[in-house]
Amino acid sequence: MTRDEAIIKKHTEDGYKYGFTTDIDQERAEIGLNESTIRFISDKKNEPEWLLDWRLKAYDIWKKMENPDWAHLNIPVIDYQSISYYASSKKKKYKSIDEVDPEILKTYEKLGIPLEEQKMLAGVAVDYVMDSDSVFTTFKEKLSEAGVIFCSISEAVKEYPDLVKKYLGSVVPQRDNYFAALNSAVFSDGSFIYIPKGVRCPMELSTYFRINAENTGQFERTLIIADDKSYVSYLEGCTAPKRDENQLHAAVVELVALEEAEIKYSTVQNWYPGDKDGKGGIYNFVTKRGICEGNRSKISWTQVETGSAITWKYPGCILKGNNSIGEFYSVAVTNNKQQADTGTKMLHLGSNTRSRIVSKGISAGNSSNTYRGQVLIGPNAENAYNFSQCDSMLMTDRCGAHTYPYLDIKNNSAQVEHEATTSKIGEDMMFYCNQRGLSDEEAVNLIVNGFCKEVFNELPMEFAVEAKKLLEVSLEGSVG
């Protein structure tokens, strides 16, 4: 066996570390999607009438829409009638951690995030979402002292209906796109955060999403509202078990930053990517958008995407307030047969609005990695400024990298800068590292980490470490 073959073999047989399933009693909706499915979900969650109506309206819209096909993706036909839209473990409502199903706790342990340890971890409050229900929320008390609301969307619907009614769908309307409409119809659960005026959230908030049940699409919905002069940093981490069939994940995230508020939203996405032949894996079709509603507000998206069979995702900012700032920092890694079409959309509406885009794409194996970014400068956006930097690194001759920047400028005072590079991982860099004693794997890790540094710098410390490790696992044996 040659050295390259040995490395490839090691990689392909190493498998997906998070690919285990949990045996817990499930209660799930009947397979398929129709009005009664939506009524079932709404009923299970004891939702008020207005929300059921909202869901039904979304369903009507969705029925008339079609799967988008403009992305640089090869999306197999998805049979929406063969998916179960609601799964929830039967045992519910935990007052203390002892009541949580030990199987669920074991799952978290395998994920490397034991609740106990997470509690300690630098004051991170974690809201776990397993399939459809929010299982357990830690740190609630400390947060409520600060006036911060951090709970599941279902709970928020009951406890804070005014806030939910006002903002749900205000940034990503039901008709925004095919997957957003689907999500609006069937969303199961997700996180809700409200930071009151003048409050700096005392800790990083975090949710781990995990798809467990077979054939269950996960449709979580996240809504974060930062009131005037408040600040919050939120991290979302995702893994999913390894299964042969594909699973659909169509989430919606909405952020609202009011006057001088700042929201920092970080994602480390490690959904199961499928095996080396492209069998199985998550279809990740996510709509994430934030609005800088108030003047001098700021929204910053940071994402590290290593998983999923297909990723379709463009976290964006609507810069409505004057002097508001939008940022997008992204690392997207694809290997084997993975496909990613990801980027951002910066919509400048207010004057003196600024946006910054830093995208790093790494492609290995036979994968395809596309950056798609849109910068729109509206007619009233005086002195708007955008800087975009899109770098692609190729690990093999078989993979592809594509960059599609779209510019639409309706105000002459705008200043827009765009830089893009594509390079094969440098033979000279590899040799230089080898000559200092580093193996191929060590050299790749070092070079790739350096390549992604600007983005990793944006992540909270603990998560930057996690992101680096994920990259190492994703790219094991990928040079060639």
Binding site: E427, F431, Y432, N434, Q435, R436, E442, G450
Partner: protein, 249 residues
């Protein structure tokens, strides 16, 4: 330490090294001189095992082992160090991280634990002083934005950090001003020992005013065509390479 026998090597299927012989004993300093394009860098790259440098004939034995059987990183860990003619930039990787990774890669291969931070810092400080580099450089990306002279000093710094048995310097002196030349030479001289050997590739004899070689070889058209002591370098300086070319035409 190093025995090169009848070495033939191709670069992109073109024969460049054509029967080169060289023996280096522990503690010796050998200089190789020769006109541009004669294969000096090719020899350095072949010794270090660079991809695309294909040995078609001959043997290289390093410390009793067949060097040609080893991967580039194995050769490095076994004690072969190459100071590059054109040091490579690695964006986003700090020099400090780069060196720590290199040292720990060696330790890992030996089954040893990673170097302690305090031990590393002490080594680093000592060797930075040796090549007169400011500690701030360690926080910058490897060679990115470094001047030509800074890059070459960085090579010697790395050499000092990694404690090699055989140091190959490929035109480390070219492009250096007189100050940098002095610093680099002093660094090399400080590293000379009974065990460590040097193969110094240079185009000019001025480096050899600072580093006294035990042997000087003239390379031409992929072979060593003449060997002697330091006076040979002087002769080349005075007479140029034409007489060599003529003699080997």
């Amino acid at each position: 330490m190093l025995e090169i026998k009848n070495l033939h090597a191709n670069v992109v299927s073109k024969p460049i090294l054509k029967g080169l012989n060289l023996n280096i004993a522990p503690g010796e300093v050998h200089a190789i001189m020769g006109p541009n394009g004669t294969g000096k860098s090719t020899l350095a790259s072949t010794l270090a095992g660079r991809n695309g440098y294909e040995v078609t004939k001959g043997d290289i034995v390093f410390e009793g082992e067949d060097l040609l059987d080893m991967e580039p990183d194995e050769r490095a860990r076994a004690g072969v160090f190459l100071a590059f003619q054109y040091p490579v930039e690695i964006p986003g990787v700090t020099t400090i991280n780069f060196m720590k990774s290199a040292i720990n890669a060696r330790r890992k291969a030996e089954g040893e634990a990673a170097i302690k931070a305090s031990e590393f810092m002490a080594e680093m400080k000592k060797n930075l002083e040796l090549v007169e580099i400011n500690q701030e450089f360690m926080k910058r990306s490897v060679n990115v934005g470094f001047s030509g002279g800074e890059k070459k000093r960085n090579e010697i710094f790395q050499m000092a950090m990694l404690n090699p048995k055989l140091c190959i310097l490929d035109e480390t002196d070219s492009g250096l001003d007189i100050d940098a030349l002095r610093v680099v030479s002093e660094g090399v001289n400080a590293m000379r020992s009974k065990e460590r050997s040097f193969l110094i590739i240079t185009h000019y004899q001025r480096l050899l005013d600072y580093i006294q070689p035990d042997f000087v070889h003239v390379m031409y058209n992929g072979k060593i065509v003449k060997s002697g002591d330091k006076s040979l370098a002087k002769k080349l300086e005075d007479k140029g390479y034409d007489w060599i070319k003529e003699a080997n035409a």
